[in-house]
Structures are given as C-alpha cells and as structure tokens.
C-alpha cells in the first residue's frame, strides 16, 4: 500500500503523518509512507485544503488531521 501525505510542511501535516505511522505500526501493515511537499504535486491531486491523505492514488481525506478511527477505517477498507 502506498500512502501519501499532502501538505507544505505545516504542523498539522506532521501530526497527520505521525497519526498514520502509529496506526500502521500498531497494525503491522505493509505500507510506504511519503510526504508530498511540492505544491505542483499537491494541487495535481485536486486538494485545496491541506493536509490531504492519498492512499494508492486516491484522495481519501483533506483539510484536517484524521482521527485514529478514520485511519483505521481507510486501512480496513483496503484489506
């Protein structure tokens, strides 16, 4: 699974990436986590409010730090 976090490196983007990392580790899920900070790439996903989360090329979330329940929901949908 490929997860991308879209955001210009603000505090909430960091919080988002940490939240994702935590869930991935605790679940032992194989996933590659990358941060996308380039504006061109961020807007190419059609995201207007950061942080955004992209899983396997699909935008699943924008505009806020996702909660644990939300992240688990996305990951569960993938399995």
């Amino acid at each position: 699974m490929e997860i991308k976090i879209l955001g210009p490196g603000c505090a909430r983007c960091k919080a988002t990436s940490e939240a994702l990392e935590k869930v991935i580790q605790s679940r032992g899920i194989q996933a590659q986590l990358t941060k996308v900070e380039d504006m061109r790439e961020i807007v190419s996903y059609g995201v207007l409010s950061t942080p955004g989360v992209v899983i396997d090329g699909k935008v699943v979330h924008t505009g806020s730090v996702p909660t644990r329940e939300m992240i688990e929901g996305w990951l569960a949908a993938k399995h």
């Binding site: 909430r12 996903y45 409010s49 806020s64 329940e69």
Partner: protein, 355 residues
C-alpha cells in the same frame, strides 16, 4: 490568523446516541444563558466583598476585569461553537465548485460570503489559490475570498459583540464583507492575471473525487465542540492578558491623552493605525479587549477598528506564503487596495459612531 488551521476534525459518530447529544446541547445552551444573565450582579457583588475603597482606580480596574473575563470567554465559546457547526457544512472543495464559472460582481459577493463560513487556514492559501484560479474562478473573485476569510472571523465578531456591543459587531461584519467584495472587484478590474507567478498558469489542477463527507448531526455538534476546544483552548490566555491590560487602561490611563492621539479630531490617526497594523500579526482575541478599553477612554472607534482590521486581514506571514503564487507587484496592489479600503472603513466608523 495565528490560530492557524483551527478547522475541526470531522469524526464519524461513535458513542452516545443523537438524542443524548441534542439534549446535552440544549441543556448546555440553557445553562449558558442562565449564567450569562446573572454574571453582572454576581461579579459586582464579588468585587464589593474585596477590602478596597469603592470607586477607587483599583476598584474600577478589578470590576472591569472580573466582569469582562467570564463574559468574553462565554461569548467566545458560544460564537466559536456555532461557527464550528456552521463550518461543518462547508469545505474548500465545495466552495470552489460553487464559485467556478461565477462572473465578477455576483462572484465577488458569493466569494466574500463563502470566505466567512468556509474552513480555511493561511497554510492552505497556496493550494486554495491555485485551485480556485485553475477552476476558472476569476482572480478578483478569488481575492474577495482571501480577504473576507481572515478579516471576518468568529473570534473578532464574538469579542466585538461581547465587549463593544452588537451594533458595532454587525457594522464590522457588514463593512468587512463590503470591503472584501469591493477590493476583490477592484483588483479584478485591473486584469492582473499576467502578474501571477508563471508556474501557476501552467499547473494542471487535478479533479480528485473527494470522499463524501456527509456528516450526522452528532458529528456536526462534535465539530462545534472540537472548534471550541481548539480555538478557545488556544486564545483564552490572550483574552485574559488583553482584558488585564484593558483593565489597567480602564482604571488608570488619562482620558485626555488617548483622546488627543486616537480621537476623532486627529484625522491622520486612521491611516497611521493602518500602516502600523499591516506588518503586525496577531489574533483578534489579544487585541479586542484593549480595543474596548481604548474606546472607553476616548479613542475613536473607526481608528481602533481600522487598526484591528489591518492587523488581522493583512499580515506579513500570509504575504510570504502568497509570494509563491503572486508576483511582488500583485502583492503590492493587494495590500494597497485592501489598505485603502480599511482606511475608508475607519473614517466611516468614525463618522457613524459618535461617542
């Protein structure tokens, strides 16, 4: 805003049932109004119990502090909660859809209004700007959004309402909205699309199918509570500090001095307040209690509000972020038009509200 990214996190509804949430919300509102109702007599009684000479400077300062602190924090909580619930109905993506294809004029009005209710923070200014422009939202309309969004915010409105009164709060809302509409329209008339950074024009904005974030009533109420925890949690200390300074001014500062510097007769004070306010960067919460005390001591309302608008609507950090998409020339036009607008609003307030 220095309370950057305050938009609440939408959560799936788990836990108690909707009826419990609704009942708790109604009870909370009733309790709020009950406490608010008795606040003035209770605080007056409390100050009267203190071993201080009545009608002394200290007594006046303490009375101001002990009444205003709970009052302002309560009003702030209510307004932020309401705004959090309202914002859960909007998103930047939906706003873009509503605005694309809108003509100038109508588009400016819509953009400024949506700027108030759409959750947005300055760290998202760049993707938002590009997203709007590439979706065919005219440049001036985009600016109307970007001006209204920070200027007319719930913290400023809630505090003005609580400290200076509803008339001023409503006039602030109307003039902030009017300024965003007009300034955006004027910038649009200049046809400055060539003054964007070159790369912005070539960007291809994706059109991602975003997840449907239809929220339940519980999730919306929760969004309101999250907003309160987030925003009030961040600014309460500022508010108390501001009121403490305000209390000192209230009790001690000589009225004549302030009136001569910031009063209506000093015509130059409005543009001076705007020039001083533009590079400053603060949130409304820290400023408004001081604003109220200044007004009480004879500073003209328009001058003080122009200062406040300049501080929260135009800020150096936001300009640095926008520098990525706008050329310096365009930023200068932006500051110039909005700055002039604020000066006009300042004079207007001074003329409308005769102390």
């Amino acid at each position: 805003m220095s309370t950057c990214c305050p938009s609440p996190t939408p959560r799936p509804s788990v836990g108690p049932r909707p009826t419990i949430w609704l009942a708790t919300t109604v009870l909370g509102l009733v309790a709020w109004f009950a406490v608010y109702w008795v606040l003035e007599p209770v605080s007056a009684w409390a100050v009267a119990q203190l071993p201080i000479a009545p009608e002394s400077h200290l007594e006046e300062a303490l009375a101001f502090f002990f009444y205003d602190t709970p009052k302002v924090l309560m009003l702030l909580t209510l307004v932020v909660f309401a705004m959090g619930v309202v914002r859960s109905f909007f998103s930047a993506e939906n706003t873009r859809r509503l605005l694309s294809g809108k003509r100038e004029g109508v588009g400016n009005v819509a953009a400024a209004s949506l700027g108030i209710v759409t959750p947005f923070c300055s760290c998202s200014a760049v993707p938002l700007f590009i997203g709007f422009v590439s979706a065919g939202v005219p440049l001036g309309v985009t600016f109307s959004f970007l001006i209204a969004s920070p200027m007319v915010n719930e913290v400023a409105l809630g505090l003005l309402f609580g400290l200076v009164g509803w008339k001023v709060a409503v006039t602030y809302l109307a003039s902030g909205l009017g300024l965003a509409i007009l300034a955006g329209f004027v910038i649009g008339r200049f046809h400055l699309d060539g003054w964007l950074q070159p790369w912005v024009r070539d960007v291809r904005m994706g059109n991602a199918e975003l997840p449907d974030q239809r929220l339940t009533v519980v999730a919306r109420l929760r969004a309101g509570l999250d907003a309160v925890a987030d925003i009030v949690g961040k600014v309460w200390l500022w508010v108390i500090a501001g009121i403490a300074i305000g209390a000192l001014i209230h009790g001690y500062a000589p009225a004549e001095l302030l009136a001569s510097i910031m009063g209506k007769d000093a015509w130059w004070s409005v543009p001076a307040a705007v020039v001083v306010g533009i590079p400053m960067y603060s949130n409304a919460a820290g400023i408004i209690p001081i604003v109220e005390a200044l007004i009480g001591k004879g500073a003209a309302l328009g001058t003080v509000l122009a200062f406040m608008m300049a501080v929260i609507a135009l800020s150096l950090p936001e300009m640095i972020i926008l520098r990525k998409v706008l050329t310096v020339k365009l930023i200068a036009v932006f500051i110039g038009v909005v700055g002039l607008g604020i000066v006009t609003v300042g004079y207007l307030f001074n003329a409308l509200f005769v102390a």
